[in-house]
Symmetry: C2
Subunit: 303 residues, 2 copies
């Protein structure tokens, strides 16, 4: 088995998405798919997830084309996790119309004890599973662990999530989740409160408004890359995290200045994701387009 410097543990899904610009069935989705695809522009990344026997071979090929490690993609009897969502005209939040967990109910992520990844990302899954993975992790071999979550877990599994937060280095969440978690409207105070829950570094994604990075007592604020059209926001958060983590792994530098650049990189990769359905835009994307947009972006927000 090959070893990879970065591993993501999350979901692989088949989505049905409706936006003001159109509707599409059978979109290849899931947090781990988006994350790994985005990270793979920068580093070798391995995906740990579960799918059913119905998982299309074409989707597997999409990941393989980007050299994403699939040794830990479990294929089991049953159907792949399915999500159906809709975005209203403001495109800021998805309305979940249907969730079919299917094989996700059987997901039991297991790390290889002999070769844990150096960088680990726990994408949005049940905090119980995230905690289960953290219990298997050997520090300091695994030197940087980040995680994501969602409002569903903040409301439903708060105690388990609190345990997870005590053990991760970086927590990435969106503005609504940060407010829900801390009961703080002010996002600066919310970010500081979350740091006190465990992760020394917190990234609060604000969609069209950019992102905040809290790192020890330091702070960084970056606007979003300006887009006249957001076609489909699905996967923006996961590709943000993937771009950010991929950049960190590639550079190998966990200092604050480099974390800032990683946040910008994640934000820029996400700005491509939302330009089309699912992974469609990322599949056409070249690394130099990302680099060019970062340079262009610098001009738009430096003074």
């Amino acid at each position: 088995m090959k070893s990879y410097p970065l591993m993501v543990i999350g979901t692989v899904a088949i989505d049905e998405v409706e936006t003001p610009f159109g509707k599409r069935d059978s979109v290849f989705g899931g947090s781990a798919s988006y994350f790994s695809y985005a990270a793979s522009f920068f580093t070798k990344v391995e995906l740990m997830a579960i799918v059913g026997k119905d998982f299309p071979i074409e989707y597997r090929k999409i990941l393989e084309e980007h050299s994403i490690g699939l040794d830990h993609l479990q294929v089991t009897e049953g159907k792949t996790f399915r999500w159906k969502g809709k975005y209203e005209s403001d495109l800021n939040s998805a309305l979940t119309l249907d969730t079919q967990l299917n094989v996700l109910l059987d997901f039991k992520p297991e790390l290889r004890p002999e070769s844990p990844p150096e960088f680990l990302f726990l994408a949005n899954i049940d905090p119980l599973l995230q905690m289960n993975v953290l219990d298997q992790v050997k520090r300091p071999k695994c030197k940087f662990i980040a995680c994501d979550t969602m409002n569903f877990w903040i409301n439903g599994k708060r105690k388990e999530l609190d345990s997870v937060l005590k053990k991760v280095d970086l927590f990435v969440l969106n503005d609504g989740e940060a407010r829900l978690l801390t009961k703080e409207m002010n996002l600066i105070r919310a970010g500081r409160k979350i740091q006190q829950m465990g992760p020394g570094t917190v990234v609060v994604k604000k969609g069209e408004h950019g992102a905040f990075l809290f790192c020890s007592e330091k702070f960084f604020s970056v606007p979003a890359y300006p887009l006249e059209e957001v076609f489909d926001p699905t996967g923006a958060g996961d590709t943000f995290a993937g771009g950010m983590m991929g950049y960190l792994v590639k550079s190998g530098d966990l200092g604050f200045e480099n974390l800032k650049r990683a946040v910008v990189c994640g934000s820029i990769v996400a700005s491509f994701t939302v330009e089309d359905f699912g992974l469609d835009r990322l599949r056409k994307l070249k690394l130099n387009e990302i680099e060019e947009r970062i340079e262009q972006f610098k001009k738009l927000c430096h003074f």
Copy 2:
């Protein structure tokens, strides 16, 4: 009569403000008061407005202490304009509880034809009055005109506002107003649409999310200075505009790079305003504190 390079025409008011942090009667307010006070850190500014005989001498002294020109502050029989507002916990939008126009109903701004200001700011007043002023303005002696407005006029005097927008160089408004005016949720598209209505330069203020600057085909995005506590948002928009215009007048440079710096300067002055009730924070403020916060801010958002 002294002549001033910058004039603001707007309101001078007595406010009653309630925020989650407290309540205060008889707060010195009004768009022209806030604007002129902020601008006076950078340049000589003259205020044109109307007040009643009840206008407190202490308020006049506050303006005089900052050398704000008051030759055009009309004092007339009747009561000064009064506004009563309340902010809920999100502090993003004020709920107007009461408005007493009083002497504002008699306001007829008249420019001195022989010495128009070089820079003119039409703060938030009836677009009919704004248009009336614009009809008196002699170009090119008056070389730069900017204006503000509010949702009330967008909904109620759209035709008059459209006429105003055709004649100004810069239009500054907030995100909600930009969306209302253009029926566009996407603020980039909204800003571009507003440029097509007349003003070559548009500034969209986004409160805690910063601001956008649209100038010809160019674009600039800046986050807000991070504040853990926003005490009273009243006057933030007017001091933003005042700081921005004051900076422009002082530098005398209307190029895009300098407009960017002016927007940052306005945003930073506003970040002080919201730290206390009314003008209380600005009254204690020193120019070097503004400069220091701008430098500090640069570090928080450059990468």
